[in-house]
Structure formats: C-alpha cells, structure tokens
Symmetry: C2
Subunit: 232 residues, 2 copies
C-alpha cells in the first residue's frame, strides 16, 4: 500500500521500466506456483498487487502471451497456460533439439574461459544446500551453455522454453538421486565441449534432456499417486 507518488523516480535507480518489473514479478510468481496453470488473472488485480497502473501490466501480459505462458481469451482476460501431456512431449522434444544444438555450437565456439566457468558451475552445484538452489544453479549452467553457443536466435528460443518450464510444478531436482545423475550428464556435456567435439556434445545434451524428461514423467506419476488430481 501507499504508492507514495514517486512515479518516475524509482525507475532511475534501477533503470527497469515498470513493464519489465511486472514481467519479472509474474514470471517469478508463476515459477513459485503462486499462479497455477488454469487460473484466471485480472489486470486490475495485478496492478493493485504491484502498485502500478494497468498499462505496464498489459505490456507484461502481452509479452507473456507471446511466450505462451498466458493464454488470451478475448474479453475474458488471460489465464495461466496449462501444459497437457502432448505439450509436455512437444516441449521436451524442442528442448532436445535446441539444447543439443547449443551444446554442439558451444563445442565449436565457446571461449576457454566459458568452458572453465561451466566446469566451475558443476562443482559449485555439489555444495548446494537444497533442491531449489540446485535448480537455480542448473538454470545458470544451462544459461552459460546458451551463451557459449553465440547465436542470439537460439538464445531467444531457449529462453522462451525456459520460461515455459515455469508452468511445470516444482523441479525434477526434488527427486532423490536426480541431482547426482544430472551432475554426471553435465560433466559429459562439458567434457565434449572441452574436447571440441560437437557431435558428442550434442548427443550428450540430448541425452541429458531425455533423462530430464523421464524424471519429469516419473515425478508426475508420483504426484498423481499422492493426490488423484489428474492433469489431463
């Protein structure tokens, strides 16, 4: 409460427009599960929550719609997108392609310093405390591979997929044993990149995503066993 009328002033400090702020906040909220898929969201509601007007909220909505996280129903507002089984398959199929491509390109174009950073990130992940932190480091790791690929269109597409992943509940790192296996897969990818072997890097990345998909499906099955809330 208390917007305090410092309208254009707060921005100068962080050089972040309100539209971008709303975009980030909504992404975080979706990722944190505060807005669940299928839930309807009203512009005024978000505007009041974040203490801004509807205009920047609309801008954020449009971006999220373009990325597929929100679905517009004309004159009914937006609802958080729901991923059905089919979309999940398509999402992971696309990830296999793009992550594989990114790893292959990274093997060709990565600077040595970038490869070193990747190795460090893997080591750091072993010291992570909980699943949330491991998931965060995992995102960071993949983000660095994207950067090493040096292709901005690929980067954009992969970021869009990453955002779509926010619609999935929890992370596969909550599964026992997933972290250790993923670490090994990560090392395989970085090893291939370091050897400058694009084919092997691509294969390793595709394998990694395929395993992540398996873990995700297993997780969904277990969740459905716990509460019979099927997600059709």
């Amino acid at each position: 409460m208390g917007s305090e009328r410092r309208r254009g002033k707060a921005k100068s400090g962080d050089q972040l427009s309100r539209g971008e702020l709303v975009h980030l906040k909504l992404l975080d909220a979706i990722r944190a599960g505060e807005f669940r898929p299928g839930e309807r969201i009203r512009e005024a509601e978000i505007a009041k929550w974040l203490g801004v007007s509807r205009t920047p909220v609309r801008e954020a909505f449009r971006r999220l719609q373009a990325d597929g996280l929100l679905v517009f129903e004309p004159w009914r507002g937006v609802v958080v997108a729901e991923l059905d089984q089919q979309q999940l398959i398509e999402l992971y199929a696309m990830r296999k392609v793009l992550e594989g491509t990114a790893a292959g390109l990274a093997a060709q174009h990565a600077a040595e310093s970038q490869i070193a950073t990747l190795a460090e990130l893997i080591d750091t992940a072993d010291t992570a405390a909980d699943a949330a932190e491991r998931a965060e480091l995992n995102r960071h790791f993949h983000q660095n591979i994207y950067a090493a690929a040096h292709n901005r269109y690929l980067l954009k597409a992969l970021n869009a997929l990453r955002d779509s992943m926010a619609l999935l509940p929890s992370t596969t790192y909550a599964l026992t044993g997933r972290h250790e296996i993923a670490q090994g897969e990560h090392r395989d990818i970085v090893g291939a990149i370091a050897r400058r072997d694009p084919k092997a890097a691509e294969a390793a990345a595709r394998h990694h995503i395929a395993e992540a998909e398996k873990a995700r499906l297993k997780m969904i099955i277990e969740m459905n066993r716990g509460n019979k809330d099927t997600t059709p």
Copy 2:
C-alpha cells in the same frame, strides 16, 4: 481526418484487436521495405498513420521487440533492427536447425492430406507470375511443413525467424534461376517426407536453407556492387 467514431464497432466484424492490426501492418510495412532497418519510429507517428491511439501501437511495439524486429532504446523510442553479417549467419544457422527439425518431424507425423497439400503448393508455384508471388507461395509452403511437424514450440520459433527475415531486403526469389532450383529442393523435401524418411527430410531441408543462404549472400554482394552502400 474523421476517425468517424466507430471505435469498438469495426472490430466486431473481423475479431481483430487494434493491437494485432498494428502488429500486422507494421510487419507488412517492414517486409515491404517501407520502414528500413536503422530507421527510428515514433509511436505517435504510427498511431496517426493507422488512425488508432498510442496504446495499441505500444502493444505492437512490444511484440515486435520481443521478436527482435524492433530495438528499444530507453526514452529514445524504437528503431527497426539491423541485421549485420554476423546476425545473418546466426539467423540462417538457426533456420537450418529448425527447418531441418520441422521436416524430420513432418516425415514422422504429417497426415497424408498434409503431404498432398505440400505437393500441390509446389505445383502451384510453377504458375506464379512474379517473384513476389513466388515468395508468398514459398512462405505458404514452409508454413505447411511447420504445421505438419505438430510441435507448437517449434512452430513459434520458426514464425519468429520468418518475421526476422522481413528485415532482409527483397527476396532471394528475385535472383534468376533461384525459383527453379528451389522448386527442386522443395520436391526433395516433400519426397523424403512422403517416404517417411526423417533423416533424409531433415538433410534435404538443411540443404535447402543452406542454398537459400548462398543465394542471399550472392544477392547482397550484387547489391553492394550496384550501390556501394555497405551494410556493416
């Protein structure tokens, strides 16, 4: 100039919001070369041109920014994005990956009717009058392959690339002989899809894009020969 105050009424006929209309109009304008890369665009200017207010213009700007066609410079407005040599390479590299993937998936998932449509589109292209019409049919052809792949994330990424292509001047179909060669490549792709051979379909599509890239580079060289306006 008499906006005639039929504000919310015109929309009911075509169920197209003003924001989407502006988006399409701007895409067309960029594709037609009315707005050239590097050119600065002002919101009010577009709003007056299309007879709408700045609000839907802003929405369209945001979408075009998200797709990379416009670049935002805070408090300086937007400029039409410029593709340098490096971005051109990255763009075609990504197209090779995604078009190849789409063709491969189409070989697996396309319905027979979709394959028939693809064959028909190729035949129709032979009757096209000029380069513009051939380019249009070419877009249509590729769009149908995307649809046959049945992966909405792939579709979205490919559409984003297609829009980015609007930043390139003219089309490679203006080159003499390009149409005939492209037709042959198209038949190779559809042939592989019809044989349900994903590997061959992917290879054919990648080859097709590689040839298109060659044609594009050749075109740029010829243009630079004509006027020494280098696009750095």
